[in-house]
């Protein structure tokens, strides 16, 4: 079984659309994250979610919103997509030590 799974793996959409990326972890971890990886490979933290506490990176536009229906899921909703949103988005979960990453979602906005 995959520890952290994301869907879809690829997402191509037009500017202005709204899209969601789903993330599920079966590790029982309390903390989940969303990261954005740009073309230079920088991994920028977007959100962390721990026991219903959401910490938002101040640089993230409010068009991005995480939704956590339960401890095992942290979905990412993006409204009014822009060209600059094109990137690979990674979901991750963490216990007290290492982080486990999903396979990533390559988002292309055209």
């Amino acid at each position: 079984d995959t520890a952290v799974s994301q869907t879809p793996k690829y997402l191509v959409t037009q500017m202005g659309n709204d899209k969601s990326i789903k993330c599920e972890q079966n590790l029982g971890h309390d903390t989940m994250y969303w990261y954005k990886q740009d073309s230079k490979k920088f991994l920028k933290i977007m959100f962390s979610y721990n026991n219903k506490e959401l910490i938002i990176n101040e640089t993230v536009p409010n068009r991005f919103s995480p939704k956590s229906p339960d401890k095992a899921h942290l979905n990412l909703h993006i409204n009014s997509l822009e060209l600059g949103d094109s990137a690979v988005y990674f979901c991750a979960s963490r216990s007290t030590t290492e982080a486990f990453f999903g396979q990533g979602t390559r988002l292309t906005v055209v």
Partner: protein, 110 residues
Amino acid sequence: GQQVMQIPQYQHVQEGEDFTTYCNSSTTLSNIQWYKQRPGGHPVFLIQLVKSGEVKKQKRLTFQFGEAKKNSSLHITATQTTDVGTYFCAGPLAGNQFYFGTGTSLTVIP
């Protein structure tokens, strides 16, 4: 902006040469972790260092945590083509945030 910097950003080496990447944090870290991301893949945990001045080895990889717990290094002896990828350091910073360094992309020329 990024609070955990790595140098160099890119490194090309001939197979068999050694490689080192350096990680510097603007704040003291309780621990530091290292991850490897293969091309097209997701970051995978390599190791965690906790103690000041700690040195750990994994086969050809040597990891070091600085005395002030603000810097770290990863050294690979006699690189192989399987070492290709981007190496990230990471550590817990403000709150529950888990920040990644800027990464070093390693290319090994056969």
